[in-house]
């Protein structure tokens, strides 16, 4: 507390004085007939000395209040940034690492880690600017290339109370995890060189435009900064999950099945690792969703609660579906369900109340269970770790349900008192969400296919069969995850 006793009383007196000054003329006019004299004396005595001091003090107070709010918001946003980084490493790296066979553990972890380094550098050079520079419809500009003009001052278009540097580094963590999610579909058979080149290009060609369209000023799908089709996407249902999930499906189809799939058993080598990873993802997701309020305010709390509730509901509904089908609830099912719920609530987190969050989670758990157990088997694609089944499907459901459950009491994004989602009576929002979903799908699909063709010509995409059998740890990286006898 900065406001110690005497300072408080002083400011109280000054504020009271200012109040009297503004009220005095009015009262004077109203009561002119009866008792004009004493009030004019008060006013005349105060005119020269007090106003300047009052104004200075008020300006100082204003500055102090802003600084205090900025400190609080900045603290939460820095913590959120590190929570989102923690989702990639170690969260996703462990989650995926446990799901692959032992010989591919380091390879899949290394892909996540490589992105932590690579996307960071690209983000500093052009990435941030392509996502959040300028006000184009489809992509940002080079306004902030090399982080020009990104410093301690806030960028009022996006987050008016925190340094733009904080906003920049927070958004970077999203750009890291999104391509990392795709590696779940390409696992156990994609070359490291091809993976790195493909995902670097993917970040520029698919992620950056989509992030700008949905979140950037003037973006085609932006809901609050002048978009044609205002799509609600609080923390990345379209930008992160549909984009990565759909691209994952294209990658799985382009690469083809793993050698031996589906005849040869390919059980996860350590569900313990996956379990730890999933729990880290759950915790990290609070930074992802509640952090997307871009301030330490009540909207952040609302998103925090919605996130937690959806994860819990989806863990239950996936487990229940599994119990019903196989007679047992598995640990892998429970953690997969939680992740599916977290994915589905991502676009909705800052727009829906706790009860709709439970509903979104329940629906997502069952639908994603059906996607990875039934739909995958029917079509026969080898989405090795279910990046499409969980992120593509969960993101799509979440984006559409956001249009249904969004409420202006939670987030009056279209202006005070204006209906937001179908629950408010604005069914058109479901249509807007559908447009956003379709654009994200088509964009990811076409972009990924073109990039895969290019990368296939440049470095090649798939490892030779004998390398796949020997394992990517040894053939791509020259090391093994477990040297238990050394």
């Amino acid at each position: 507390m900065k406001c110690v006793g005497w300072k408080c009383s002083l400011s109280f007196v000054l504020v009271l004085g200012a109040f009297l000054l503004t009220v005095a003329p009015l009262s004077a006019q109203q009561t002119a007939a009866s008792s004009a004299a004493p009030l004019t004396i008060v006013a005349s005595a105060a005119t020269s000395e007090i106003p300047r001091a009052v104004n200075e003090k008020l300006a100082q107070l204003d500055k102090d209040v802003k600084a205090a709010q900025s400190s609080a918001d900045n603290a939460w946003m820095l913590v959120s940034a590190l929570l989102v980084l923690m989702m990639t490493g170690p969260g996703l790296a462990l989650f995926y690492g446990g799901l692959v066979r032992r010989k591919n553990t380091l390879a899949i972890m290394m892909q996540s880690f490589a992105l932590m380094a690579l996307i960071t550098v690209m983000w500093a050079l052009v990435g941030y600017s392509l996502c959040f520079g300028g006000d184009g419809h489809f992509i940002g500009s080079f306004e902030h290339a090399f982080l020009r003009g990104v410093g301690a001052d806030p960028n009022p278009d996006y987050a008016g109370t925190i340094p733009q540097l904080t906003f920049m580094v927070y958004q970077l963590m999203f750009a890291i995890i999104t391509p990392a999610l795709i590696t779940g579909a390409t696992a156990e058979r994609m070359k490291f060189s091809g993976t790195v080149l493909f995902l670097a290009l993917w970040f520029l060609v698919v992620y950056a435009p989509l992030a700008h369209m949905v979140w950037g000023k003037g973006g085609f799908l932006n809901a609050s900064l002048g978009g044609k089709f205002p799509t609600l996407d609080f923390a990345g249902g379209t930008v992160v999950h549909i984009s990565s999930g759909v691209s994952a499906l294209v990658c799985a189809l382009y690469l083809g099945k793993r050698t031996g799939y589906p005849k040869q058993p390919m059980p996860p080598h350590s569900l313990v690792l996956s379990f730890i990873g999933a729990c880290l993802l759950w915790v990290g997701w609070f930074g992802f969703n509640a952090g997307s309020a871009l301030a330490s305010n009540s909207l952040a709390t609302s998103a925090f609660v919605a996130t937690h509730f959806a994860a819990a509901a989806a863990a239950l509904s996936w487990s229940a579906a599994e119990w019903f089908k196989n007679g047992r609830a598995s640990a892998l099912g429970a953690i997969s369900g939680a992740v599916a719920g977290l994915v589905a609530i991502t676009p909705a987190a800052g727009f829906v109340g706790p009860m709709p969050a439970l509903a979104i989670g329940l629906i997502a758990g069952v639908v994603c269970y059906w996607m990875v157990t039934k739909v995958k088997a029917i079509f026969g694609y080898d989405d090795a770790l279910d990046a499409f089944g969980v992120h593509g499907a969960g993101g799509t459901i979440g984006a559409l349900l956001t249009g249904v459950f969004a409420q202006q009491v939670i987030n009056p994004i279209f202006g005070a008192g204006k209906a937001v989602g179908a629950l408010d009576g604005h069914w058109g929002q479901v249509g807007n969400q559908l447009v956003g979903v379709l654009i994200a799908w088509v964009f990811a699909l076409v972009g990924t296919l073109v990039l895969l063709k290019i990368v296939d010509l440049l470095t090649g995409i798939r490892v030779p069969e004998e390398h796949e059998i020997e394992g990517l740890d040894i053939t791509q990286h020259g090391e093994e995850a477990y040297n238990l006898e050394s």
Binding site: P262, P265, P267, P268, N326, R328, S330, L332, G333, S336, Y369, V372, T373, K374, K376, A377, D386
Partner: protein, 112 residues
């Protein structure tokens, strides 16, 4: 000299080892192995994909013994390794031509 190879349930291994020590058996070689006889495996389900696991974990004990001890050891293993269910394992006996202690080149039963 006879060689005893006993493939037993991992859960019975500690009891078998203790019982053998009680009757004075000093040496054995133990390997963790996987296999199956008539016992069927089990199925595991990961995200809807079912795997039949038919090679189950077992423990293999190997001992080379002077002829006089063989019956007692076989009886002890039978008594302690048995659960009465399918999957308890098997004991194989075979004749051994020669044994040599590497340290001092003793031969025959002296080397055991």
């Amino acid at each position: 000299m006879m060689k005893i190879e006993a493939i037993i349930q991992p859960s019975r291994f500690e009891s078998v080892k203790d019982a053998l020590r009680e009757i004075g058996i000093e040496g054995m070689t133990v390997t963790e192995v996987r296999g199956h006889g008539r016992q069927k495996g089990h199925t595991e389900v990961y995200r809807g994909r079912e795997y039949t696991v038919d090679l189950l974990p077992k423990i293999k004990l190997e001992m080379v013994l002077p002829d006089a001890l063989v019956n007692r050891v076989v009886d002890t293993i039978l008594k302690t390794a048995k659960t009465g269910k399918i999957g308890d394992g098997k004991i194989f006996l075979s004749r051994v031509e020669e044994a040599i202690r590497i340290r001092n080149e003793e031969r025959g039963e002296n080397a055991l």
